[in-house]
Every structure is written in structure tokens, then in C-alpha cells.
Subunit: 329 residues, 2 copies
Amino acid sequence: MKRRKRLSLEEYKSGILSGDRVGLSRAITLVESTLDSDNELAAQLIDEIYEHTGNSFRVGITGVPGVGKSTFIESFGKHVIDSGKKLAVLTIDPSSQKTGGSILGDKTRMETLSRSSNAFIRPSPSGDALGGVAHKTRETMLLCEAAGYDFIIIETVGVGQSETAVKNMVDFFLLLMLAGAGDELQGIKKGIMEMADAIAINKADGENVEPAKKAKKEYQNALHLFPANENGWNPKVKTCSAIKDDGLSEILELLEQFHKEQNETGFFDENRKDQAIHWMHQTIHHFLKRNFYKSPEILEKLSKFEAEVRNGTKHSVQAARTLLNQYYN
Amino acid sequence: MKRRKRLSLEEYKSGILSGDRVGLSRAITLVESTLDSDNELAAQLIDEIYEHTGNSFRVGITGVPGVGKSTFIESFGKHVIDSGKKLAVLTIDPSSQKTGGSILGDKTRMETLSRSSNAFIRPSPSGDALGGVAHKTRETMLLCEAAGYDFIIIETVGVGQSETAVKNMVDFFLLLMLAGAGDELQGIKKGIMEMADAIAINKADGENVEPAKKAKKEYQNALHLFPANENGWNPKVKTCSAIKDDGLSEILELLEQFHKEQNETGFFDENRKDQAIHWMHQTIHHFLKRNFYKSPEILEKLSKFEAEVRNGTKHSVQAARTLLNQYYN
């Protein structure tokens, strides 16, 4: 691997604030680094640019593989840009932690969008744990905001590992579904549907139009069984065809309506403040766990203890206490 | 408060294994204690009795206040006892942490049941955090098993704070609902419905029979939208009237069917093993956080930092890192 040239704090900062993509990319690489010295500099950088963050509409988009997320974001992103926004697309893909590469993050997936000067697409960071990946994505989002991107899409693959983390860093959560794929085959993990501020039933074209309408009605009924959100927003269901560019402007309007309403009622800011407290504690928990699981005495023994708990020779609390005692002593 | 007489480890142990209720109650009080010295003895006690645990069917029951949980457990519990089981009913009530007392845990709620020599009813422990309460409840469950109780009901109030914890310590999760109460008024927190292995629509009597049947169909449709569980079990919906003792034996049969099926496929044990690993890590996380938040330097500064994060003078990660630095140094 080529040795990356490390810039000074000032260079990173001015690179971001100038809106230069190369500068932004370099800063994100710093944030994503696993080196302790880089982490320290990254933290300082976040401090420096923090006052320039927060001025975006943050949208989480999820759905299982095959639902057409890339095509959706490619087409939908064009509408976002045409509305005068600068768009950043970030991805969280827990599976990329194992393979080392990223399926979701492949830039070539969103070719048209990636060629626009008002779009910035960044693949999923790799990391040792979802918590770490989520933190890096959140900090990357802040860097993008400081660089002038005022519409952020955070894409996740809807298998339930990362959606809660994303829900806690976005203003709006959009779930993509398909009609007629056999609901049980869509693999949407329990709980995700209920986080959605809107469901978009994609691929509603050709023979799929009628099944999509039917699915829309079914999901509307299902959503109706849950109580209204605190913020007074009732989750909406829409149909669309990303590939035909059909229904996407309506979805953007829906998002803008949400943004406007929530701003007026003050729930937009309230949610951001709750999320800030949430992230403070999440960050604390993340580092407490990271320091524990990374410590040499735990690294050495953990898998042995897990095996013993699984086969019943140690019980959960016993194993936990033994490990904790060794950690603190 | 009267000073509690502290027994020896052997006395606690023999009190439990003899199946004596007074002995069991004393041991639970030890487990629930917040004194460090008691915690140490409690941990030793759990070690001592651990080989006698695990031989029960563990059932979580939840539903919002007003759904009739007490009446349900009172009537349903009678069926459990009549089937030859010894029943322990434990409660987790996060609200009791604030009031110091327990609404759910009032023994007088289940008068008939509490008079049976084969039933043991224990109110919710108080605690400084849900994590702590959940751990104490789980350890209490182990004590009850060692004392010969082979059917454990863990009751929670369905407002979303404790259900995930309970889901991770039970074999079966039953959600109580009402028909015709206006679905949005039932206040079932998003996500809880999806944890359910079965939904029982209670108060299906008199004029409510027809609405309950209709609700049953609606919930069946809604559940159908989610994929099957890994263990191959499809959540079922039943109607019942706890007060008329109607439909309860069918629900007990359903639970027994689940138990038998899951045992045969091996998923019952697999789930228990996964839960054991889960609890090892949860215990570790719990103590890491507890030690952090209880340390004097953090106690002193936390609320100031939270206020600064909320009003925007500090950002989340900055506040977290500052607190962590002060903790580790």
C-alpha cells in the first residue's frame, strides 16, 4: 500500500471548507483511519469544522439487495441536484467488514451521479465493529456538511445490523420495498419497517404497477396498526420506478414537506438535540467497549470463554466477571 | 429500614435447593441488593446453583397498561399449575425505577395465584438502570429454576424499554393486545409487535367478540408481511378472555406446541446458547458502563456536559472524548 501523505490540521480544514472534493476525500480517509495518531488528528479536525456542520437534510435509505437502491439513488439524486442541492451519498455496509471490500460502495454503480459536480459518493468504511463504522460514517457526514453538501443520503443494506444506528443520525428514514416479490422473501428484518418515515415500493412499472398498488395498500394498513410518531408524522407509502424515473419527484416533495413541517413544529431541532445526546453516550459506550475488547488480556482469552459459555462449562455472568476482573486488575 | 440478616452462602444455597419459598425470597433479595459486598456473594451463589438451572420454559408476556396483564397471568397461571407445573412470575417495570415502588409487582394483583403453593410471584426489582434491572431479573429467574420452578413468566409493561432485554432471556414472547381500543391508542412501541411469537387479543367477550375476531385477522395479515423466523416458527394470533377464562387453554397448548417443536428441531437449545453468549457480552457492557457512570469524576460532570451538548456549545464526540480522557487518567 502506498504511504499516504499526512497533511496538517490546517491543510485538512481548508481543504474541506473550500469545498474541494480531493480535500474532502483526504479528510474522510483520515477519519476512517484505524491508527491512533490519525484518530487524534481526526478528532481535532471535527472540532475545528464543527461550527460549519448541521446545515443539511439527512436521509437514510435502506432496502434489501435487489430492491434497486443504486438505481433509486442515482435517479432520485438527480432530482435532488436539480432542486439546487449539493448531494453526498454515504454507505454503511456491515458485510464489507468481513470481505474487506465494499459491495455497496462501488462508485461505478452510480455513474451518472458520480460525474455531477454537485454530487459526492463515498463507499462504506471498513471497520472492526458496526459501532465503529457507524461513528466513522457520522463523522464523514459532518465533514460533507462542512464542505457544503446540504443533502446527505446514508445508504444501508436492510438486514437489520446498521439501521438503528442510521436512524439515530438522520432526519428522515426511507425504506425501499418491492411488490410481488413474495413478502417473506424480501428479508426485511423485524423492526426496520417500523422505523420508516416513508416506504417507497420500487420497480412499479409494466406488469408490476398493479401489484405495487396492492402492496402500497397493504403496507398502509400495516403501518396504521402502529401508533403515530411523537413528532406527529404519519409514515407514508409511495410507489415509484427508479429506472423509468417515475414517482421520484413526488418522493422528493414528500421529504421536503416533512422537512418543512418538522421545522415549523420544532421537532426537527428537538430530534437533532436528542440525537446529539444519544451520540455522546454512544461514543462513550463505543470507546469503553473498544478499549476492553482491544486490550491484550481480553483478546487472548475471549474466544476460549465464548466457547465455554456455549458448551455450558461456564455460565454467562461467571465468564463476564472473570474477564472484567482480569481487565481491571 | 430493618437490618436484614445476612446468611452464609451455604444457607442461601440450601434454602433455594430445598424449594423453600422463604429461602428463595431471601436469595432474591441478595441478588437485588445494590451493596457491592452483597453482589459478590450473589455472584458466588449463582455459581453454586447454576447446574440446577435451565430446566424451565421461559415465557415473556407484555402489553400496555389496561390490556389486562394481571388478570391474564392470574387465569393463565392457573392453567399452567393445573398442567402440573410450578410457576414463577417475575416482573420488569422500568417505571418502578423512578417511583421507587412497583406498580406491576403488587402481589395483591394476583390474589388467587399467590395463594397457590405451586406459584411464586415476585415484584420488579428497583435499580439504577434498565440494564441492571434486567440482569437482576435474569438472575432471579435462575434462582427460581434452581428452586424447582419449571414455568417462568416474565411480565413487562409494553412501552419498549425492557422488551428487548426480556426477548433475550425467554424462550417464548407473548404480546397481549385489545380489540376495538383504537389501534393507535394501544401505544405498543414500534418493534415490540415484531418480537412476538404470539399475539393474544384479550377481553374477547360480550360485544368484543366480533371486534376481536376482526383484529385477529388484521394482526395475522400484518404479521404475514414479515419474514419467517429463523427457527421456522410463524407467529400466531389468538383471541381470549382472561376474565371469563376463555381461550387460555388453547394458548397454553400453543406454547407447548412451540416448546415441543423447537426442542425437536434443536432451535430451543440453539436459542439458549445464543442467549448465553449475548448475556456474557451484555454483562460485560453493563459493568463497563456502570463503572464509568458511577465513577466520581464522571458523576460530577455528566449533567453539565449533557446540557452543553444539547445547547450546542460542545459537540457529541468532543464531550464524550473529554469525559473518557478524564475517566482513564
